[in-house]
Point group: C2
Chain length 361, copies 2
C-alpha cells in the first residue's frame, strides 16, 4: 500500500508517571514496557515500520520536545517531526498533520497511533492494522477496538453496531470511562470494546469531517495550507500565528463522535494503555514474590511491589515487609505510594506545583 502514512501522537504532559516523567520527558520517552529495549515511542515506531515506510511516518509533538523525541527515533529523518507551536488538544494536531500529508499525497490513507502504548502480539497488531487500513480505503473512518479482558474503568469504550465483514463492524457509539459496575456489564455483554485511540482514514475524509464538524478548525487549517503554497518560511510563520487560535478540542469529541458512520475493527493483541505505574507492574516481569524490581534491589518479606529506578546513581532500594507499593526513584525525587493509588500521582504533581518547585515538574 504505497499511500499509507502514519501520524504518531507524541505530546503529553508528563504527570501520570512523575517523577520518572516530566514536562520535558513525558511518558512516551520512558522505557516503561518490556515490548522492546526502547522507550515506548521507540517501540511504537518499530511496531509500525512493517506496515508503513519510514519515509511516510510523521511524529506530532510539542516544540519543546522535538529534540529529545528525535533521539529516540533514529530511523526517521528531520522532516518527520511536526512541532506543534502550542498544545491545542488532538483535533488541531491531527487535522494539521493530515493537511501536511494530503498536500504531499492527495490519495493518502492515514493511520493515527498514540506513542505511549504497549502491544504484546505484534503479528496480531499488524493484522488488525491492515484490516483497518482496508476499511479506511473504502471511505469510512475506522478505529481499532480491543476485546476487554477485565472490567477496566480507566479506558473509554466503543459500543459495536451492525456487523460488516468480520472483524469489522459499524460503531454504535463511544462511551466515557465507566464505573466498575458498568465496566463489568460492558465486558459481560460482548458488545463493548476498549477504545485503543488508533484510527485510520483517507486524508480527504478527515479533512471533510473536520470541515463539517469543526468549521473554525478547517478555516484555520485552510489559512496554513494557503501559506504553505508560498514557501516554508511563510508556512512556519502562519503555523505559529494560527495554531494558537485553533479550537482546542479532542478528535474524539470534536470529530469522531459526531461522525454518522464509523467502522471499528475488533482485535486482541495484548494491547495496554499503560495508564499508570500499576499497569507497569501488571505488565512487568515479576520475581517469585510478585515484585517487579531492578536486580540490585534488596527485597526481604516484600510482595507484589513495583520498584522503578531511573536514578543514574545506582542507589540501592531496600524493601522490608512491604506489599503492593510503587516506589519510583529518579536523581531528584522518590515517590512512594500503594499500587492502588498509582492513578492519583497528579495529586503529588499538583502539590509540587502549588509549592512553586518548578525544577521538579
Amino acid at each position: 500500500m504505497n499511500h499509507v502514512y502514519s501520524i504518531i501522537l507524541a505530546g503529553g504532559s508528563g504527570t501520570r508517571f512523575w517523577p520518572a516523567s516530566r514536562r520535558t520527558q513525558p511518558k512516551q520517552l520512558l522505557r516503561l514496557s518490556s515490548e522492546t529495549d526502547r522507550s515506548l515511542i521507540g517501540s511504537t515506531l518499530s511496531r509500525i515500520l512493517p506496515v508503513c515506510d519510514a519515509t511516510r511516518i510523521y511524529v506530532a509533538t510539542g516544540e519543546h520536545l522535538v529534540n529529545q523525541t528525535r533521539e529516540h527515533l533514529p530511523e526517521l529523518s528531520e522532516s518527520a517531526f511536526l512541532a506543534e507551536p502550542v498544545a491545542r488538544n488532538t483535533a488541531p494536531c491531527i487535522g494539521w498533520a493530515t493537511r501536511i500529508i494530503e498536500r504531499r499525497d492527495p490519495d493518502a490513507v492515514v493511520f493515527v497511533i498514540p506513542s505511549d502504548q504497549h502491544v504484546s502480539s505484534r503479528p496480531g497488531f499488524q493484522k488488525a492494522v491492515r484490516v483497518a487500513l482496508n476499511s479506511a480505503e473504502s471511505g469510512i473512518i475506522t478505529t481499532i477496538g480491543i476485546t476487554p479482558t477485565r472490567p477496566e474503568t480507566g479506558y473509554g469504550y466503543i459500543e459495536v453496531g451492525a456487523p460488516l465483514e468480520n472483524p469489522v463492524s459499524r460503531v454504535a457509539r463511544f462511551v466515557e470511562k465507566p464505573d466498575l459496575a458498568k465496566a463489568k456489564e460492558y465486558q459481560a455483554s460482548g458488545r463493548f470494546l476498549w477504545n485503543s485511540g488508533m484510527f485510520f482514514y483517507r486524508a480527504k475524509d478527515m479533512t471533510d469531517a473536520i470541515r463539517k464538524h469543526v468549521p473554525l478548525l478547517a478555516q484555520g487549517l485552510d489559512e496554513i495550507d494557503a501559506a504553505a503554497k508560498l514557501g516554508p518560511a511563510i508556512e512556519l510563520e502562519a503555523t505559529r500565528r494560527i495554531f494558537p487560535t485553533l479550537p482546542s478540542v479532542s478528535i474524539d469529541v470534536g470529530v469522531l463522535e459526531k461522525q454518522s458512520t464509523l467502522n471499528v475493527v475488533q482485535a486482541e493483541f495484548g494491547w495496554n494503555d499503560l495508564g499508570s505505574f500499576a499497569s507497569i507492574w501488571e505488565h512487568g516481569a515479576t520475581d517469585a514474590q510478585g515484585n517487579v524490581a531492578p536486580t540490585d534491589a534488596v527485597l526481604v518479606d516484600a510482595r507484589d511491589n513495583l520498584v522503578y529506578a531511573q536514578s543514574s546513581q545506582k542507589r540501592v532500594i531496600a524493601l522490608l515487609g512491604v506489599s503492593d507499593l510503587c516506589v519510583v526513584e529518579t536523581d531528584d525525587a522518590c515517590l512512594i505510594m500503594p499500587r492502588e493509588r498509582a492513578q492519583d500521582v497528579r495529586a503529588i504533581v499538583d502539590a509540587i506545583a502549588a509549592q512553586g518547585r518548578k525544577d521538579l515538574l
Copy 2:
C-alpha cells in the same frame, strides 16, 4: 564533686539504623533526636557537662571510630578518647576505662552512660545522676531505673528490692526483655523499672567487682596497668596485645547481675533508648497528620510516617496515600518498611552482606 568522672560508651555496629548508620557511622553519630541540634553523642555530652567537668570525661570507642567521634565532641581534648583495639563487649571496655581513671584518681566516682539515648527533661536527668553519684559514693554500685510509661518489650527491666532513702532502693534482680504479656505485668506491678544502661560506682568498687566475678579480665587489666607504669608506648603495645584476649562479656551479665548488692535510683526524665526508627517517629515532631518528615517532603494523604533523609542531594521524598511507613534515605540507599518492622532492619543488612556488597555496610 571533684572526683566525678564519666565514661561515655560509644561503640556500636551500625545495623539498627541502616542505611543511615554504617560500620563507620554508628547510631550515636547520627542526629536522630530533637534533644539538641547535635548528634546523639553530642547531645549526651552536653547533657552531662553540668554534672561532670569536660576534663574528667572519657569516650570509649573503637579505633576505627575515633576520628569521626572527635568531630562530634569539640569540647573534649584528644586524651579523652579511649580507643578499644577490638570490640570485646562492655565489661572489658568499662573495666579498662575504669583502670585508666583509677590510675589518675584513686578516689574517682565513675558515671557510665551510653552515647545513643534520648532525654527530654535535662533537670530530671541531672537530679537523678546526682542522687546516683551519692549512692555510689557509699560504696554500692548504683544504676538508674526508669519508671515504665508503656509495656515496652524492647528493654531489659530491673526489679526493685528493699527501699532505701527515696528514690533509692536495692536491686532485687535484672530481667531480660519480656514478651508483651510480661511487659504489661511489669508495668502494672509498679515494681519493675527500665534498665537505662547508666551506672555509677567508685572506681575501686568496680575494680574489686571485676576481680571477684571475672578474674581473667582483672588479670588482663592488671597487666595493662603494669605496662602503663613503664610509659605510654609500652602501655599502648600492651593494650593492643592484651585487649583481644580479654573475655568478651557484657558488664550486666558478667558483673552487675552477679553482684550481691546494687542500688537503683528510680527516675522519670523522658528517657528513651531510641532502639529503632520506630522510636525516632515516636519521639519526633509530627505534623497534623502524624508524619515526622523533612519540611521539603511532599505528603498527600499520608499519615503517621517517618521520613528520615540524610541524602546530601536534597532529593525530594513524595508520599501518596501511605501510612505507618519508615522511609530512610541516604546518598547510596533508600529503605522502605512498615514502622512495625523497624526492629528487623538487620534482615536487610544481612541480605546485603550475603550479597557481598560491603560498600553498603
